[in-house]
């Protein structure tokens, strides 16, 4: 069996799961899994760019995804009336002042001679800058957060079409990736991992605590949609008639129709990114990347700027994760900072790439769809397995209750074991790199 046929069969097998889910749980559930699978595939594509092409280990995917989600809010939500006048400009000014302080400190450090005088000057600039920043920042934040805290209490967004948030999410993630890459690339590979782990935790901390920006743990709900609302479709006589023509009731028809529209949008983005990634992989640039990955010393000897290329591919991969994050928040219709867990948004994506086949874009897409499916259905399967194991135990026994209650944590364990098994016995994944 040649590889093209094998790949087709693998994809066919994964897509065949969708009707199976539809048969048991209805088309709504099936399309939901498909949509999430498409988004996961995009994330996996981004990570594959970093790991598969360049061998860069990013443990902060969650942070880049969350930044994308923030973009969806900042672009799509309407601006809170009066928030900008109350304190928005103050906050913006304070942030600019903070940035200016850092720039001044860096230029001072560059232009003064080494010694205690320089350290003192830089320290003084930082302290004065910080005090000024806090002086402007704090009252502005208070003013913004005082505006109807139960409903808004944040700046809101620009009120633009939410589709625009997708590329903006990519830009946000690229910006964060630039800061991390500038510092940690060019050093040992472990340092990048640790730095990305840190930035992800901090991005989530910011989203949870800066209420003026993202409403914190109060969540932003009702992010606008790029597709029509179900309720509008149900009130649309033409739509109801067409649904009746297919023999489905209007409510089911509208939910399925909306999910299909999302599915089309996501599939379009995925195919576009996949095409771009394939072009990149087969271009001289892609060959150079793989050459660097396989032997950095040799590539450097050939005159390639390894650190600069790494920075480039790291930013690109993170941007793709940011795009996927914005799409995810658009699909959810809400930003809930509490739901960003490293297991779900960093580690699972890693498993997708490695199971699918690192270094192969098609593999990453396949892995993304497949692992998401297993993840989504794993919860109920885990519970059923645990109930089956404990079936012989007497009802009401403490052990049985404990085991069934703990079944949810089995996912952590299973995914960890799966990763180790694949790494050990099939490190090239389902669709290996050519």
């Amino acid at each position: 069996m040649n590889s093209a046929m094998k790949n087709t069969l693998l994809f066919a097998a994964v897509f065949a799961m969708i009707p199976v889910i539809a048969y048991y749980q209805g088309w709504n559930a099936a399309l939901f899994v498909l949509n999430m699978g498409l988004i996961s595939a995009i994330m996996a594509l981004g990570v594959n760019l970093q790991w598969g092409f360049a061998g860069l280990f990013n443990v902060g995917i969650m942070g880049f995804v969350a930044l994308g989600g923030l973009a969806a809010v900042l672009v799509g939500m309407p601006a809170t009336p009066g928030a900008w006048q109350a304190g928005g400009f103050g906050i913006l000014g304070a942030l600019l002042m903070g940035a200016a302080t850092i720039v001044v400190a860096i230029t001072t450090a560059r232009h003064m001679r080494r010694g205690w005088l320089r350290s003192l000057a830089v320290l003084a600039i930082l302290i004065i800058g910080f005090l000024l920043y806090r002086g402007v920042f704090d009252p502005s934040v208070e003013a913004v957060e005082a505006i109807e805290p139960a409903l808004t209490g944040y700046l809101g967004g620009l009120g633009l079409p939410v589709i625009l948030a997708w590329p903006v999410g990519g830009l946000f993630a690229a910006g964060a990736a630039w800061i991390i890459g500038k510092t940690a690339l060019g050093l040992r590979s472990d340092y990048l991992a640790i730095a990305t782990l840190g930035i992800a935790e901090i991005i989530i901390a910011i989203l949870k605590n800066e209420d003026w920006l993202s409403r914190g743990v109060k969540n932003v709900v009702g992010v606008p949609r790029p597709v029509p609302y179900e309720i509008d479709l149900q009130n649309n006589a033409g739509f109801v008639d067409r649904a009746a023509g297919f023999g489905i009731d209007a409510v089911t028809a509208s939910t399925i129709y909306v999910k299909l529209l999302y599915c089309g949008l996501f599939a379009f983005v995925l195919v576009l990114l996949l095409w771009m990634a394939q072009q990149a992989l087969n271009s001289p640039w892609g060959r150079m990347m793989r050459a660097i990955r396989d032997n950095e010393v040799a590539a450097e000897a050939m005159g390639k700027d390894v650190t600069a290329r790494h920075l480039q591919v790291f930013i690109l991969g993170s941007a793709i994760c940011g795009i996927a994050g914005a799409m995810l928040t658009t699909l959810d219709g809400q930003l809930t900072p509490g739901t960003y867990q490293p297991l779900r948004f960093t580690f699972l994506i890693w498993v997708m790439v490695i199971v699918g086949g690192s270094g192969n874009n098609l593999g990453a897409v396949l892995g993304g769809m497949l692992i998401y499916l297993m993840w989504d259905k794993g919860e109920s399967i885990g519970l059923e397995v645990m109930e089956w194991i404990t079936v012989g135990m007497p009802d009401g026994s403490a052990l049985k209750a404990h085991l069934i209650e703990s079944a949810a944590h089995m996912r952590l364990l299973t995914i960890g074991v799966l990763l180790l098994l694949v790494l050990r016995f099939s490190p090239r994944g389902l669709i290996p790199e050519k």
Binding site: F57, R188, A193, G198, W350, G416, V417
Partner: protein, 356 residues
């Protein structure tokens, strides 16, 4: 006071005494809220960072599973503590957990030797790249994470018993007559004392014993060590055993001092790595220094200085804000920023570690 009192007029004396008392109060408040907590937190971080740095020196990879190794060791200790408590065994004023600690260490040793045998040894034989080890250690992290949650659940667990304070704030106030109290918790005392003993033992072992010397030789130059007949598998095994001890002690001390919650140990990973890198990865002395640097920065940056400042400055200059540089929600950001600065300015760390 009495001697100097004769030199002053009564008015001056009152002013002077008030100021001195204020200064004393400020110092007490500072010790109570900053110095003592940072010392014990620093000791916990230092023990954790020592484990990371030893693994890095000998096995040459950053072990992401270290936080969860600490959680596992602490979990075994918690379970044994509960068992002892149910049997009515206790250490009187000291926490029973100290009695259970050796069992926790044994459990953790068994776990680490098993993971090395099942997981890491294969990649060592293959001479896999360090980044592969890191990914594999992430896999182990999640297995351990799941295991700990599966056994003990994801919630907070209390296992502290015995006397709560060496000196309580009230006793201190009664003895000294100061307005500020100084509380010295038993767990803080135990943490600092244990850390000193453990570090002394570790350095004695590394510098004085044959096995310790062979470990350092292996860490400095693997090929040369192999040529001189050092058995690498033995060195690796001993390293895991020591790391199990360090991780369990760090995990239990942290759990006693704060509380035992599986997820916090995963979050400790960042400050621990920051400590190890600030000190210089692979350098044990650096790990200790790094632990205290990170702990003191974290506590001073997130502490609300209002109280201390109010005592020190004249009354009309007293601040009306909290004088807190950063809210405690961002304590992770402190380690992160220090990490970034070290990576930018001196990637080998303060004590010249081996990694660039």
């Amino acid at each position: 006071m009495r001697v100097r009192a004769t030199l002053y007029s009564p008015d001056e004396l009152i002013y002077d005494k008030d100021f001195e008392l204020d200064l004393l109060n400020a110092i007490v408040a500072l010790s109570n809220f900053v110095i003592i907590p940072a010392m014990s937190y620093g000791a916990q971080l230092a023990l954790g960072a020592l484990g990371v740095t030893l693994i890095y020196g000998i096995l040459r990879f950053s072990n992401f599973a270290h936080g969860d190794t600490m959680a596992f060791g602490a979990m075994v200790t918690v379970l044994v503590t509960w068992l002892f408590q149910s049997w009515g065994i206790s250490l009187g004023p000291l926490p029973t957990a100290l009695l259970a600690l050796p069992f926790g260490i044994l459990g953790c040793m068994a776990l680490l030797l098993a993971t090395d045998r099942v997981v890491y040894r294969f990649y060592r034989a293959q001479k896999a790249k360090p980044v592969i080890f890191v990914i594999v250690s992430l896999g182990v992290t999640f297995i351990l994470n799941g295991l700990v949650r599966f056994i003990i659940g994801p919630d907070d667990q209390r296992f502290l018993d015995g006397e709560r304070f060496i000196i309580s704030a009230r006793t201190f106030k009664e003895i000294t007559g100061l307005r500020e109290g100084l509380a010295f918790k038993t767990t803080q005392g135990i943490t600092i004392l244990t850390a000193v003993i453990v570090v002394a033992l570790l350095f004695w072992f590394l510098n004085r014993t044959r096995t310790g010397k062979s470990m350092r030789a292996y860490s400095d130059n693997e090929d040369l060590a192999l040529l001189s007949g050092i058995n690498p598998e033995r060195v690796v095994r001993v390293t895991w055993l020591i790391v199990a001890g360090l991780a369990t002690i760090a995990g239990v001390l942290y759990g006693l001092d704060k509380s035992f919650k599986p997820f916090t140990y995963f979050q400790l990973l960042l400050p621990i790595f920051a400590s190890a890198i600030v000190g210089g990865l692979g350098n044990p002395l650096g790990a200790i220094a790094g632990g205290f640097v990170i702990a003191f920065s974290e506590v001073t940056v997130t502490y609300a200085w209002k109280k201390v400042v109010t005592y020190v400055v004249p009354e009309d200059m007293a601040p009306d804000t909290l004088v807190q540089l950063l809210s405690t929600d961002y304590k992770l950001a402190v380690s992160f920023v220090i990490l970034l600065i070290v990576l930018l300015v001196k990637p080998t760390g303060l004590f010249a570690g081996k990694a660039v």
